[in-house]
Subunit: 105 residues, 2 copies
DNA sequence: GCATGGCGCTACATAAAGTGTAGCGACAGG
DNA sequence: CCTGTCGCTACACTTTATGTAGCGCCATGC
């Protein structure tokens, strides 16, 4: 029996595709760790907590396909204009997370 | 050899714990689908695209532990005040995702 | 030349996470 | 009782991620 791939959000609604992409393991962390400056492959891998190179590379490919990051050979991986816009949405999380941490003890 | 659990972001930094939580499969979708009104277990399961009850329940437990959602026996699962605050951060994504979809063709 | 070290990335066996389907126990009507 | 709905569990199976080794490329320096 043939099984179809589910990831990629077959609904065709961008928001669903986006939530699906961001919901994959390490994706949010990768985008987050690129907030300050470009990072090298191995550097990024360590920053996000040591995920395997296999999955790091997979995610980087997905994020490049989504035009959220790009590889500058001279500097490393960095957010594209689009990726930086996305990050801007998430920046409030940093402050909010502190409040949240207190709330849940 | 004993293996330690990694999820839960041992760093102690709230933002990391939050990104880890949100980066788990289906979590963003669940929060998103609760944006309008409370939803029943099975209803929620269908809305997010038919994930298995096993994992839906696991995520609901994690989200309840994080005080982002709660179960009202009379109405179903719904966002807490904290969860609603979090959702507010994500709402701009809806608009942005349309722009993003056009940009990536 | 030719080793050294960093670069992005791949291979592959093992372990963890998620799926699909069946069905449980509790409770509410009829 | 029977029927339906509720949240949720059991479990065999499939998919995804981990951990470790190491590849090919290229620049630097002896």
């Amino acid at each position: 029996m043939v099984r179809k791939k589910v990831r990629g959000s077959q609904t065709g609604r961008p928001i669903m595709a986006l939530l699906d992409l961001l919901g994959r393991r390490w994706v949010l962390r990768i985008v987050w760790e690129l907030r300050e400056k470009p990072r090298r492959f191995r550097e990024l891998q360590e920053l996000i907590g040591g995920a395997s190179p296999t999955i790091v590379n997979t995610r980087l490919r997905e994020l490049r396909a989504a035009r959220l990051i790009e590889l500058d050979p001279a500097a490393g991986y960095r957010l594209t204009v689009l990726g930086a816009e996305l990050l801007k949405v998430f920046l409030p999380l940093h402050v909010w997370s502190e409040k949240w941490a207190k709330a849940i003890g």
